[in-house]
């Protein structure tokens, strides 16, 4: 496999208006803050974001939304971000909510080359409205389409030059599934090692799924401990 390390300038060439972008992370762990900052600096507009949540106020993808670069977010929960809830309530951004595991499964099936899946989650709720349903084994189930993106932004702890990735602890979350579900997959890694250094058993995302990798030279403040979550 070729060396997948590239510069931030190369990454910026991938960004353009109107892209659908998946962003890994659940809270701070696993959010690729530096790649998000690159998208912010690029200024691409009319973006559709796919992310578990919108980070917290003034952090990560929240900055993209606050800057008016995002047309729509496909997400699970915005409860920790009053700023984005305000933007949503003023109708300045379109929001599509899914149950968290259904969002994950839509991405997983998209990454697996499938068209969708069947589920009874939300079948007795307002979530059923506007959904296609079918009878399966005598029970009504929702047809949930798969989800793919133009670009996925991923954060990993270690990557080798061939794009094999290892995630840390609860920073894994949406990253491995999003790494399978986009046309162009870009990973930022905290440490780059030579191909062959990682134990095959240790690798979470095989390099075949990763197109480009950038090494983080210094973690920004956003990656650190959030004081308001400390006891």
């Amino acid at each position: 496999m070729t060396d997948k390390i590239c510069s931030m300038e190369d990454i910026r060439k991938i960004f353009s208006d109107g892209l659908t972008v998946m962003v890994g992370g659940f809270g701070v762990p696993g959010t690729p803050f530096i790649l998000v900052d690159a998208l912010l600096a690029d200024g691409a507009k009319g973006l559709t974001l796919i992310k578990n949540e919108a980070n917290e106020d003034h952090m990560g993808v929240s900055k993209l939304i606050e800057a008016g670069q995002v047309r729509k977010i496909i997400t699970s929960h915005l409860g920790l971000n009053a700023t984005v809830i305000g933007i949503m309530n003023r109708g300045e951004i379109e929001v599509e909510f899914y149950p968290q595991g259904i969002l994950a499964e839509k991405i997983r099936t998209g990454g697996s080359g499938l068209y969708g899946f069947l589920t009874d989650i939300g079948i007795d709720t307002i979530l059923k409205e506007k959904k296609q349903t079918i009878l399966m084994d005598g029970r009504e189930v929702i047809v949930e389409p798969a989800l793919r993106a133009d670009v996925a932004l991923i954060h990993a702890t270690v990557g080798d030059r061939s794009g094999n990735l290892v995630y840390a602890k609860s920073a894994r979350n949406f990253n491995p599934i999003m790494a399978t579900a986009a046309r162009t997959v870009i990973a930022e890694v905290e440490q780059v090692v030579e191909t062959g250094v990682l134990e095959p058993d240790q690798i979470h995302t095989p390099g075949a799924f990763v197109d480009h990798m950038v090494e983080i030279t210094e973690l920004t403040q956003e990656y650190g401990i959030l004081a308001h979550h400390v006891i």
């Binding site: 659940f26 809270g27 701070v28 762990p29 696993g30 578990n52 949540e53 917290e56 997400t75 699970s76 929960h77 915005l78 409860g79 920790l80 809830i85 929001v95 909510f97 899914y98 149950p99 968290q100 595991g101 259904i102 969002l103 994950a104 499964e105 991405i107 997983r108 589920t119 009874d120 989650i121 939300g122 007795d124 709720t125 307002i126 979530l127 702890t157 840390a168 602890k169 609860s170 920073a171 894994r172 979350n173 949406f174 990253n175 491995p176 599934i177 990656y223 650190g224 401990i225 959030l226 979550h229 400390v230 006891i231």
Partner: protein, 216 residues
């Protein structure tokens, strides 16, 4: 002891050794404090942890290790990490023994509403719908009434549902109520209340067993 601690302490008694449990935001996150040591209880966190421990002591936080509410946590021996798809395979696939959830409204049929107040509060669904619908046992831990003193336990929910007929047990600061096929059955009442007061604060019919009710 605050009313929240009282609810959490009573809820902890519902957990059996070896069970896999999930703790929703709010009162449920206080339950681990009251679990006896060494009982091998596995706490699942939606963001991809099985075997989560208590919250971190100040100064020991790991930036890569949080619970689903963003709080820094510890691990128990045997803990594991996994991605978000697998995390909900565990929930939907029937491997979650108990989910403890909060509530806005609960109906006499065990319907639960806890995710949206249309036009007022709609932060999203999160993992709650799958937990409510697929956990093998759903225990609601909540105050008996709203902040304005309105009953939360009703004949019918007025808010959009999280899941229908999903609740097995309701634990409030005033009472423990079981959801049965025949309706709501009062099981226990708090030391500082009376059956009459519980009935007055509940907007659904309660079946009240004969004799003295256990207190908690």
């Amino acid at each position: 002891m605050s009313y929240k601690e009282k609810i959490a302490g009573r809820a902890a008694r519902e957990v059996q050794p070896g069970q896999v449990i999930n703790l929703g935001i709010g009162i449920p996150t206080m339950i681990p404090r009251y679990l006896p040591d060494g009982t091998g209880i596995w706490v699942h966190s939606e963001n991809g942890i099985l075997g989560m421990g208590l919250r971190c002591r100040r100064g020991t936080e790991d930036r890569n290790l949080i619970d689903a509410g963003g709080n820094y946590v510890t691990l128990m021996p045997g803990a594991s990490f996994f991605d978000s798809a697998l995390s909900f395979a565990l929930v939907r696939g029937g491997r979650l023994d108990v989910a403890f959830l909060g509530a806005l409204e609960i109906s006499q049929y065990g319907d639960l509403a806890n995710w949206i107040i249309p036009g007022k509060h709609a932060p999203g669904i999160g993992g709650g719908m799958e937990l409510a619908q697929k956990a093998r046992r759903v225990i609601v831990t909540t105050t008996h009434a709203t902040r304005n003193g309105q009953p939360k336990i009703l004949k019918q929910c007025t808010l959009p549902l999280t899941a229908k007929g999903c609740v097995d047990l309701i634990i409030t600061e005033q009472a423990v109520i079981e959801v049965t096929a025949a309706g709501l059955r009062l099981k226990e009442i708090a030391f500082d209340t009376s059956v009459d007061r519980v009935v007055a604060n509940t907007a659904a019919d309660l079946m009240i067993p004969d004799g003295e009710l256990p207190r908690f």
